[in-house]
Amino acid sequence: MIWLAGRLAFHNRARLIVTLFGVVFSAYLTLTETALYIGMMENATSVIRHAGADLWAASKGVQNFDFAKPFPDDRVKTLQGREEFSWAKPISLSWGFLKLPDGAQELVEIIGYDPRTPVGGPWDMVRGAAGDVDGGDKMIVDESAGQRLGELRIGSSWEVNDRPLELVGLSRGARTFTTAPIVFTSYDLAQEMTPDISRQAAAAYIAIKLRNPKDAERVAASLRRELKDNEILTTSAFVDRTVLYWTMQTGMGAAFCLTALLGLVVGAGTIGQTVFANTMEHLGEFATLKAMGASARDLNTIILAQAGIDAGLGFAFAAPLALLSRAPLETMGVTLAISPMLLASLFCVTLVTALAAAYFSIRRVRRLDPATIFRS
């Protein structure tokens, strides 16, 4: 019966094209909105996810990675050298201004890390190495910052908080939710050049790697009892908290959800309307099929398959379009995180929505009296 649905769907080409236009638009909207949201959340949590830590010690009440209150360095020493830790490394985080060649100032996020074990530093290098910031006034910035900062030449000098720093490397994929470029420097240099952190209180985070990552929850509970002024989070909890903050506190989540939902509704409406119009136009044929002994299952299959064909074709056009949009958007600093998983999930959502949209057609055909064909 799927064959019959295909013939029915392709019979009226003009209608199919109009339907596909609507479905492609809606699937594209849903896909890009979701990918955009995921991309922004990946940016917001990129350092957390790539530091390789199992646990994070942060200041009490930390809401997201970008807004951290420094706490005393002596806590780092308290934690280092513990039997159950592979390592515990401090990471500093502050905000500063980078002077552009034309004299303008650009807000940047300064992350200080230990260059010898680059925990919290850049994880994917295009030029140079994460350890290159060791010893001296050096920095690494992400290649994506070129959009805002201009040409990023290795060896060039840039003023950050009025202190000249040499650009020694370019990273890839290190971005923030706020889109402010990240300046990676050594932990010591970050302390020196940032006015709001002192030698006594410089650590924004202590990233901890456990010998046995399965112990994360147990060790976290133990640390919470010990460090009462700190927040102890597992990496996944810190990622969740950051995502939740940007999603809920900024209203951004609602905006993205609404747009993605709107895409689905438009798609469902288009498919539902088309399948219903096709059904109404071919009620005689459905009545004939009923009279010929088609079961309710046969008839439902024809209707659902039509909706499936519309959804499948629409998505088949929308997905490559979204993938093609990635590169141009990337140059504008917008990340579209389109993974095979996302494509598969959204295809399923589109398909289920389309099948649900066929409900009214199914109901109409179920009520159709096959005896009508004897009267027409």
């Binding site: 064959w3 013939r7 099929l289 064909i373």
Partner: protein, 227 residues
């Protein structure tokens, strides 16, 4: 020959507001294998309603329908489609071909409903269309066929599942005289050669010449029988 189809005191009433309209009232008759039964009567006499009930499409208000001796009028809605698929072929005045399928595909649809394998489906539909003189028109869409050709495709489709009984509602009404006779002849040959039953509702006076028994219907009742 044993009766293939038997109607016992078939009645169909419709409610129209507060009024009850009797479309068919107490109709009884028997149709045997190899027999062509003709139901005649003016418009509104209940011919189509009677055919719908005999074809297990419409449930009678009262009375019984026996198919090869088994009562089918009391079967559930779920059980009736398989009965229609296996036992009946339908031919309609307006052909009711699927406009988006070719003549061959239209015939194949009946076989698809019966889950016949693809190669058998194709072979059988081609044989049937050849038998109806449509070997040159198999890949034509209904819009490109004449009225007579459409009705022959409809007959091929109705015969595709090798039904026991063929129900034809005004099969010649949309056709010219020559094509009408051709169709009636095809239906009669089907009954005689295959030992199946054909029940025909028609205004066409020529149909009498092709029928073994004639039932005259008036206001839902059989008023004359010519067997």
């Amino acid at each position: 020959m044993k009766p293939l189809l038997e109607a016992r005191a078939l009645t169909k009433h419709y409610e129209q507001g507060t009024i009850t309209v009797a479309a068919v009232e107490g109709v009884s008759f028997v149709v045997r294998g190899g027999e062509v039964a003709l139901i005649i009567g003016p418009s509104g006499s209940g011919k189509s309603t009677l055919l719908s009930m005999l074809g297990c499409i419409l449930r009678p208000t009262s009375g019984a329908i026996l198919l090869a001796g088994h009562e089918v009028s009391n079967l559930s809605d779920r059980d009736l489609p398989p009965i229609r698929r296996r036992c009946f072929g339908f031919v309609f005045q307006s052909f009711h071909l699927f406009p988006f399928l070719t003549a061959r595909e239209n015939v194949e649809t009946a076989l698809r409903l019966r889950k016949v394998p693809a190669d058998t489906r194709r072979r059988r539909s081609m044989e049937l269309l050849q038998g109806c003189g449509l070997e040159e028109r198999m890949e034509f869409y209904p819009a490109s066929l004449s009225g007579g050709e459409k009705q022959r495709v409809a007959i091929a489709r109705a015969l595709a599942g090798d039904p026991f009984i063929l129900l034809a509602d005004e099969p010649t009404a949309s056709l010219d005289s020559a094509n009408g006779e051709l169709i009636l002849d095809m239906l009669r040959r089907f009954a005689k050669e295959k030992g199946k039953a054909v029940i025909l509702a028609s205004h066409d006076p020529k149909a009498r010449g092709f029928a073994d028994s004639v039932y005259s219907l008036m206001d839902g009742r059989i008023v004359a029988l010519d067997a």
